[in-house]
């Protein structure tokens, strides 16, 4: 009765480990040290994230399993990890001065951020449903706390409570789904599930499995904020500190889509016909509701929350289409969305000022005159989110839609483009405020911290660069196909 630990392959969790260890380091240093060192912790976190990013780059192109078959090191995972790390880095950058300004500069923030990042990365590389679940929960629990970081602020803890209750509620469904898939196929390993389905043919398509799959849709749909599982999004986004809102919109969504994709495209691929129509409906509902309600928003964070719902809808269009092109398009979209969304939130953070007093869209009046560069950057992000060339947002949409058209979903794409038409209205409304209406009150001087400014400029440049010269990124996205072991 000999048994041994299966091959560990630390390389496969290398970037995760770097992030996790950085988290632990920050935790212990923060716990032990006093103020002066505390100022360095954000930079330490940043360094860890960047190191992990380098590791991701170094590992690019490898395909191997790790820890038995719990995780996999493939380009797909690495791509998402890169996006998540990028998001995390920007979040750290824009959080530094924000936290000081808000008087909430505690080292735990960075610890939790790193743990959340760790969870996201696990989600991206997991090839086992329980692994995904654990990654998701690691991420979620950290984010619950971060979302309530402004705990004295009534909106801060309210958002956290809602997120927690609904998150736990939806986790139950996700878990139920996992249980049913387990029951139906005898395994929660993605590869085994795929092989089970391939081996059984149509007889493997049991009601049990279909129900399980439905529950998984619900669970992931919640995390990516798809209608009708989206309702937490605006409230939580508004309540959370702005940097975390950005992080949630870009990072959490990316990670959730990573898992969503891996499960549905590569494990349950043979059931595509069964779920694509349901996703079709969800995609249409998500796009439409997100865009339509965004019009009526007055708070820019809420507006961006609805916009993130809408963008989830666009990505779902790609999910409906299925196939490798769609997968690549979603990857590219996630990257593009991360860039422009983080950029937009970086501006929101910078312009928000102390106590997030400038978060109404009305407050953006006159920004373009007072701070031309900041205004131009925000306008750029808005144009990109609206999907105007030559920005990343346009290329992303273009690629996703083309994948859907390729599969013959022309009418879905027509609905999608009409939706992005609606979105033009509210994104442009921000630019109207920025440029076309004078400030009604004195704009409090914005305190430009170097890290946040760097973040804004980086994201702006990235949005333009990735949009105007997308080829290499598209190529990366194409190479980033998941391998299941």
């Amino acid at each position: 009765m000999s048994w041994s630990i299966p091959s560990v392959n630390l390389l496969s969790v290398g970037p995760h480990l770097i992030v996790c260890v950085t988290g632990l380091l920050v935790l212990s240093l923060g716990f032990l040290s006093r103020k002066p060192l505390g100022r360095l912790l954000p930079y330490l976190s940043l360094a860890g994230v960047l190191l992990a990013f380098l590791a991701v780059m170094g590992l690019w192109g490898r395909n191997e399993p790790g820890f038995g078959r719990m995780v996999v090191l493939d380009s797909f995972a690495l791509f998402f990890q890169a996006v998540v790390l990028l998001t995390a880095a920007v979040t750290v950058l824009i959080s530094m001065d924000y936290l000081v300004q808000e008087g909430a500069d505690h080292y735990e923030y960075y610890v939790l951020m790193l743990f959340a990042t760790f969870g996201m990365m696990m989600m991206a590389s997991a090839q086992e449903l329980i692994m995904i679940f654990l990654g998701l929960e690691t991420m979620s629990i950290s984010i619950y706390v971060l979302a309530g970081w402004r705990k004295e602020h009534p909106k801060g803890h309210e958002g956290a409570l809602k997120y927690l209750l609904l998150g736990a509620f939806s986790s139950a469904f996700l878990l139920y789904g996992i249980a049913l898939v387990y029951g139906a196929t005898g395994s929660t390993h993605l590869k085994d599930v795929a092989e089970f389905l391939a081996g059984r043919g149509s007889s493997g398509r049991t009601s049990l499995l279909l129900l399980g799959m439905g529950m998984l849709v619900v669970g992931f749909g919640f995390k990516v904020a798809s209608v009708p599982f989206h309702m937490w999004t605006p409230d939580v986004y508004e309540g959370a500190p702005s940097p975390i809102t950005g992080y949630m919109a870009a990072g959490v969504k990316a990670a959730a889509f990573a898992a969503f994709l891996r499960v549905f495209f590569y494990s349950l691929e043979s059931l595509q016909a069964d779920y694509s129509m349901a996703l079709w409906v969800l995609a249409v509902a998500t796009m439409s509701l997100g865009n339509v309600v965004a019009i009526a928003q007055e708070n820019i964070k809420r507006m961006l929350a609805y916009s993130s719902i809408a963008h989830a809808g666009y990505i779902l269009v790609g999910m409906v289409a299925g196939g490798e092109a769609a997968s690549a398009s979603i990857l590219y979209y996630v990257l593009a969305y991360a860039l422009m969304n983080m950029g937009a939130f970086a501006v929101v953070v910078l312009y928000g000022n102390k106590g997030e007093e400038n978060v109404l869209i009305e407050d953006y009046k006159g920004l373009g005159t007072r701070y031309p560069v900041l205004g131009a950057a925000m306008a750029l992000f808005m144009f990109s989110l609206a999907g105007l060339p030559p920005t990343a947002g346009f290329m992303g949409k273009f690629y996703v839609f083309s994948a859907a058209v390729a599969k013959g979903y022309v009418w879905l794409v027509v609905i999608a483009v009409l939706n992005s038409l609606v979105s033009v209205y509210y994104y442009f409304r921000v630019t109207i405020k920025i440029y076309m209406q004078p400030a009604e009150r004195e704009i409090q001087p914005v305190c430009f911290g170097a890290p946040a400014v760097v973040a804004v400029l980086l994201m702006a440049a990235g949005t333009l660069w990735v949009g105007a010269f997308p080829n290499s990124y598209l190529e990366l996205a194409r190479q980033a196909l998941p391998r299941l072991f």
């Binding site: 809602k162 309600v293 019009i295 009526a296």
Partner: protein, 640 residues
């Protein structure tokens, strides 16, 4: 010289550019001479061209000179090219000759006016356009001149632009002309679609062979072109702009609205005589419109008190004659009348201008009288003009008008002749009426105006005299009955190929000399009757007009108010369009279309605002939404 025919229109164009571009650098004193000189050179060239043409054998008198290709598109090829033939040669000489005289007259008349240079700029441009019109060798280039004169007429009528009525009149002239041009363009398009070219020579050469005699196509072409002619030549129903055009300076009226521009329609119909000859229906229409216009305008002329308006209606009436001639196939007679009319109508207008000049701009004949004592030269020349237009032997009008009436009788029918004769009577009446009211009888002038009355300077009277001479002798180029006496008719004959076509199937009856003499006598008597009646009314029994007007009552008012045609047009064309336009703009555009467009935005926005309320902030509702989603997804998975 013929190959340099392009110099003829070019000279005035150069003049135009000199005034237009360098106007601010030249002294006013040289403006007039330069402008007149430019036209003078044109006349000279035209005359040389004419002489050269005469040297050619009659059948070779048609030379086309292409300068450069203007439009080139597919099979469409339009050159800027000129045609020298008897018809255009006559027209060029008339236009440049009369134009030159009027330019000279204007130097005096317009002296000291504010926009003196502007005036000569426009005037040169006008002559350029008119010369282009008559010398072009294709329809499209003719159309350039055609519209060009319309434009200049707009500019010159609106010369006193600060006066609303002048500006209105200018616009009206242009717009009404455009209505006619609409027909012209369509006619041109139809010609191109039938022949694939717009070149006169080719069209007229091929027409007899390629078009059916009296066929729908040729009828349509000619009728459409005639619509253009009615606009330009102020025929029913598009004549309304011409009386208003008297708002312009008097020499303008003389030049544009008497001698040249309005004759463009006649010229065009004569030019297309081949086509018209093939379309009897159109011929009939031309004749009838011409005759009706002649009598219609003459009747209005009898009641007007504004001297220029009388002359304007007389112009319309005389143009009616010309069309009557064209309509019965006597194109040469029409052109003959065009020429003599150019002389005496220019003379009359300039005489009237001289009067106005003396009376500080007074136009109402009721405030004139006994001017002959003050302005003998003006009186004499004006009288000659009147005798000419009334058709008193041996003045120019007698010959040309008589030929038309004779042709109307022989080639048309008795009704046309009767109308023509009636109109001739009216013409004689109202023309002598102007003479008597203006120059004879008691003075009715304002005392302080009377004090300043003076004869005009030589620069104005010399042109009058020249024109008077022409009005006297102008008719002798078309003496009937004597063999070879009708020089102009013979000269124009090669162009009037339509006559041969008509002759081919006409009755071919030959009319006796006696008939012609008889008709001459009748028209002479009629003219004298007009003189007698005018004399009775305005010299012997000055209160008779009033009584007559009262006696006629409604009929008089109808005529006096010009049959309310302007008002009618306003009511049935202008106002409805304006009202519809306002409706389209305010209701359809801003209302319906925009409302739909904005409506989508509104509905979306409202939907957003409504759906927003679903987001109640209550976490249990959110959970409910999730549960509904669960139900949907599971339901779909199981049942879908």
């Amino acid at each position: 010289m013929i190959e340099h025919v392009w110099l003829i229109p070019l000279c005035p164009l150069v003049g135009f550019f000199i005034h237009g571009l360098l106007g601010r650098f030249t002294r006013p004193s040289v403006t007039g001479p330069i402008a007149s000189g430019a036209i003078g050179v044109s006349f000279l060239v035209a005359f040389l061209v004419f002489l050269e043409l005469l040297e050619l054998p009659a059948e070779k008198r048609s030379v086309s000179v292409n300068v450069f290709t203007w439009m080139l598109s597919g099979s469409l090829q339009v050159p800027v090219g000129f045609l020298v033939d008897p018809l255009s040669s006559v027209m060029m000489m008339v236009v440049s000759g009369v134009g030159c005289i009027i330019h000279v007259y204007s130097i005096g008349y317009m002296h000291g006016e504010v926009g003196y240079k502007r005036y000569f700029t426009y005037l040169n441009l006008f002559v350029f356009a008119m010369l282009t019109l008559v010398s072009a060798n294709n329809f499209l280039l003719m159309f350039v001149g055609w519209e060009g004169v319309g434009l200049c007429s707009y500019l010159l009528i609106g010369y006193y632009y600060e006066k609303k009525s002048a500006a209105d009149a200018g616009k009206k002239a242009f717009v009404v002309n455009r209505v006619g041009d609409f027909g012209f363009i369509l006619g041109m398009l139809l010609i191109f679609s039938a022949f694939g070219t717009l070149d006169y020579q080719e069209v007229f050469r091929r027409a007899p062979a390629e078009l059916a005699m009296g066929g729908a196509l040729v009828t349509a072409i000619t009728l459409l072109l005639f619509v253009g002619a009615t606009g330009k030549s102020a025929q029913l129903p598009l004549y309304t702009w011409l009386p208003d055009a008297m708002e312009g300076p008097t020499p303008v009226s003389a030049l544009i609205h008497a001698a040249t521009m309005v004759t463009a329609g006649v010229y065009m119909v004569a030019r297309c005589n081949v086509l018209y000859a093939m379309a009897p229906v159109s011929m009939g229409a031309v004749a009838v419109v011409g005759a009706l216009t002649a009598i219609f305008a003459a009747s209005i002329g009898m009641t007007q008190f504004d001297i220029k308006r009388v002359l304007a209606y007389s112009t319309i009436s005389q143009l009616g004659y010309m069309f009557l001639a064209c309509g019965v196939g006597a194109w040469a007679a029409g052109i003959f009348h065009l020429m003599t009319h150019a002389f005496f109508k220019a003379l009359l207008f300039m005489g009237a201008g001289s009067v106005m000049h003396a009376l500080a701009g007074e136009l109402d004949m009721r405030k004139m009288g006994s001017l002959r004592r003050h302005m003998p030269r003006t009186y004499a020349t004006y009288l000659i003009g009147t005798l000419a237009i009334a058709g008193i032997f041996p003045f120019a009008g007698f010959f040309s008008k008589d030929e038309i009436l004779f042709k109307a009788y022989t080639q048309g029918n008795i009704f046309l002749w009767l109308i023509g004769v009636t109109a001739a009577f009216m013409t004689s009446f109202y023309m002598f009426r102007t003479v008597f009211m203006t120059f004879h009888g008691e003075s009715r002038m304002d005392p302080h105006v009377e004090h300043h009355v003076h004869e005009s300077p030589p620069v104005m009277t010399v042109p009058l005299v020249i024109l008077a001479v022409l009005s006297v002798v102008g008719g002798f180029v078309g003496i009937p009955l004597i063999p070879g006496g009708n020089a102009i008719g013979d000269f124009l004959a090669p162009v009037m190929k339509g006559q041969e076509l008509l002759a081919g199937h006409a009755h071919g009856e030959h009319h006796s000399v006696g008939l012609e003499l008889g008709l001459m006598g009748v028209s002479l008597l009629i003219a004298l009757a007009g003189w007698w009646m005018a004399r009775t009314f305005y010299v012997q029994q000055p209160d008779l007009p009033r009584r007559a007007a009262e006696g006629l009552g409604g009929l008089y008012r109808l005529v006096f108010n010009k049959y309310w045609v302007d008002e009618l047009y306003d009511a049935i064309v202008v106002n409805p369009i304006v009202r519809i336009s306002v409706w389209l703009w305010q209701v359809f555009d801003d209302g319906i279309i925009d409302w739909i467009a904005n409506g989508f935005a509104l509905v979306t926005g409202q939907a957003g605002a409504m759906l927003r309320r679903v987001q109640t902030g209550l976490v249990q509702n959110y959970a409910l939404s999730i549960l509904v989603g669960v139900l949907f997804v599971l339901g779909y998975m199981l049942l879908g």
